[in-house]
């Protein structure tokens, strides 16, 4: 039996790095310290997967050789005039680098799942900046924690336990010294734990934030209620925020996906920025996939842009709405798609998904996914963080090493190996090979 300590969890953006995994004969036998989601991943990852590449032959999926699968992907990409390479947030930074290089080589668009999670957040940052910190700063100092439009009990189960509400920090000793505020249209399981729960009308976040910004600036709000919240209550919340020693606002897809999108974030960051004239206040997005931050970070240092990078003219170009995956598919702009470690057929609106299925489509994924069931070619890969090592970035930008604790099944390669092979083949083809 081998015991691995301090394993980084490859589920959500919390990247908890305190897992203890026991392995016997290449099987995981015990998982300690993981939350229900992390545990699920380690427990069941083996079940639902291909162990050989699959290709459609006369409309029927059949196992094919890896070389043939790689050839098909490379040839398709080289032939394409505007391919989309999408996914990336559930693989390692090493694989992401190869993906960017591949997209550059074939003159395609490299977009990651940020586009449908915190893409609007990044657009807010472009316009106003960000006021952030690493999570330990919150643990040590925050006496006020606000969760807005997010439900960590379900999506980031250890966030509160490890980083924000419950742990002992240097200057704030635990739950009793912190106030927890939740703002959401639903009384979520997170809201049940809150000291203050503000239930707002769905889609009225922007109005409520505007009202808070006014209250912080001592401006009179000429209404009885905003977004279904009585003005007195908004003023109380503003007082709470201004009165803390160190506050933090965590927000989720409740802000990025609902009416207002990037402007919700713009306003929320502006609110927090303004609060710094009164006290110390920070704001951070609750990033979903374990390495979606890494996808943004790597893409930004290599290309200048965090997602939706269009290499069709040889240099990086970026404009969400123009070069982002859903829009490209909605307009039917792309003539082939390579999906890596993601499931856009399940995750995109149906009309966009339909256009994805309408073009030559290849998938590299460790799971069988809705997308892989529609793909011309699927190449199964090793689970990053379980069967393959690499680097990930936690939601606050702290880099962490992903560990390989078991071997992948015979014949299953890592994303890195598969992408390297495709890149090699693409270069051969471009040289006329």
């Amino acid at each position: 039996m081998t015991v691995y300590d301090d394993v980084v969890c490859p589920f959500c953006g919390c990247c908890c790095d305190d897992l203890r995994i026991e392995v016997e004969e290449n099987r995981i036998t015990k998982i300690e310290n993981a939350c229900v989601l992390g545990r699920a991943k380690f427990e069941v990852y083996r079940v639902d997967r291909h162990t050989s590449p699959v290709g459609l032959q006369d409309g029927v999926p059949r196992p094919i050789k890896l070389e043939d699968a790689v050839d098909w992907v490379a040839e398709t990409l080289v032939k394409s005039r505007y391919p989309l390479l999408y996914g990336w947030s559930s693989t390692s930074c090493e694989a992401i680098k190869l993906g960017i290089e591949l997209a550059e080589e074939v003159g395609g668009v490299c977009d990651n799942t940020t586009t449908v999670c915190h893409g609007p957040t990044i657009q807010g940052v472009h316009d106003v900046g960000e006021v952030a910190a690493t999570l330990g700063t919150v643990r040590h100092r925050a006496d006020l924690v606000v969760y807005w439009g997010c439900n960590p009990v379900h999506a980031h189960p250890k966030h509160m336990a490890r980083y924000t509400i419950f742990p002992r920090g240097r200057f704030v000793r635990g739950r009793s010294e912190r106030r927890l505020v939740v703002v959401d249209p639903r009384r979520t399981d997170t809201a049940r734990l809150a000291d203050v729960f503000v239930q707002i009308q769905s889609g009225s976040d922007y109005e409520v934030i505007s009202a808070l910004r006014m209250a912080v600036r001592n401006e009179e709000i000429e209404a009885d209620a905003v977004g279904g919240v009585p003005v007195e209550r908004i003023e109380e919340l503003a007082d709470l925020m201004m009165g803390c020693r160190f506050g933090i606002l965590f927000f989720g897809l409740g802000l990025t996906m609902s009416d207002g999108k990037n402007r919700n974030i713009d306003a929320a960051i502006s609110l927090v920025r303004d609060l710094n004239a009164r006290t110390k206040f920070l704001i951070m997005p609750m990033r979903g996939h374990f390495n979606v931050s890494g996808a943004n970070i790597v893409s930004t240092w290599q290309t200048g842009y965090p997602f939706a990078v269009d290499f069709s003219r040889g240099y990086p170009y970026y404009n969400p709405g123009e070069t982002s995956a859903v829009d490209l598919l909605a307009r039917g702009d792309c003539d082939s798609v390579l999906v890596v470690a993601s499931d856009p057929v399940a995750n995109f609106p149906r009309a966009a998904a339909r256009n994805l299925v309408g073009v030559p489509l290849a998938v590299i994924d460790s799971h069988i996914s809705a997308t892989s069931t529609c793909a011309c070619v699927t190449i199964p890969s090793a689970f990053v963080g379980i069967e393959a090592s690499g680097t990930t970035y936690r939601m606050d930008g702290v880099p962490l090493p992903l560990r390989k604790v078991v071997d992948p099944p015979e014949g299953v390669r890592t994303d890195e190996e598969i992408l390297s092979a495709i890149l090699r083949r693409v270069r051969e083809l471009k040289r006329g090979g």
Partner: protein, 275 residues
């Protein structure tokens, strides 16, 4: 005016970068030179000739050059980008970024246009007979310098964030607009003859927005000043009465101005109490 006619030969599978459809670039060339002008089609360079049947006349001076484009150009991005003079007429629909950073001349689109019509517009006029997409007159991502001058007229509906970070000039929409018209506006004028999806003038610090149609609500961060019987846009007098509001109070040194038709917005009558 010399007229050059470009007729699309085949339907476009992938987007083309059509900034060369531009009197500033084409005037002064002869027909065979125009045929050889390079165009990005997806990730490959092709020629105008490959994409379009080309005939007509060429002027020496861009001011004297009209370019007539025929076909479904909805996948043609950047038609007329950076043009400085002359005229473009698109007899179908145009794609994204129509007239981006244009400094002069005029563009008329008979059909619809994609998002970012007149992005970073610095002069000239753009007229879209159909609908336009989002971010009309907006700046590049991260920049606070939106449309600086010139005029955009949309006869149909326009999308969200129209006039984003607008500095000056005029945008007129005959139909409806999406949410956040005039967001972060700093100057210039927006006239909306149809309805607004709301959040008019969000975070604006300058400029004027006139709404002749309906809006579901106004942001709490706008302060009613008075009810005005009429207002002016350029030489036109627009009859009200209008609720006249200022904002966005949540921003620093705000002086944005909203004029909202009182007749079309009876649900905003409560504002009168605060005058």
């Amino acid at each position: 005016m010399a007229e050059l006619k470009l007729s699309l030969r085949r339907s476009l599978r992938v987007p083309i970068q059509a900034e060369v459809i531009n009197p500033t670039i084409l005037a002064g060339k002869n027909l065979s030179e125009v045929c050889k002008v390079q165009v990005w089609e997806g990730n490959a360079l092709t020629t105008l000739e490959d994409l379009f049947k080309i005939d007509g006349e060429l002027a020496k001076d861009p001011k004297e050059q009209a370019v007539i484009v025929e076909g479904d150009l909805s996948k043609a991005r950047r038609i007329g980008a950076r043009m400085s003079a002359g005229k473009i007429v698109v007899l179908g629909s145009a794609g994204l970024l129509l007239g981006e950073e244009m400094t002069g001349g005029s563009i008329v689109v008979e059909g619809a246009a994609g998002s970012w019509v007149g992005a970073k517009l610095k002069g000239g006029s753009i007229e879209v007979k159909g609908d336009a997409g989002d971010f009309v007159g907006a700046p590049a991502r991260g920049s606070t310098k939106g449309m600086e001058a010139g005029e955009v007229i949309i006869h149909g509906n326009a999308g969200a964030q129209l006039g984003c970070f607008m500095l000056n000039g005029l945008i007129r929409v005959k139909g409806k607009v999406g949410a956040f018209a005039g967001v972060h506006m700093q100057g210039g004028e927006i006239v909306i003859e149809g309805d607004s999806a709301g959040r008019l003038g969000a975070q604006m610090v300058g400029g004027r927005i006139v709404l002749l149609g309906r809006t579901p609500s106004v942001l709490p961060s706008f302060v009613i000043q008075e009810v005005r019987p009429s207002t002016r846009v350029g030489k036109d007098k627009l009859e009200g009465p209008f609720y006249y509001l200022e904002g966005d109070v949540a921003e620093d040194s705000w002086k944005g101005r909203l004029f909202i038709s009182a007749a079309k917005n009876p649900h905003l009558k409560f504002l009168e109490e605060h005058v």
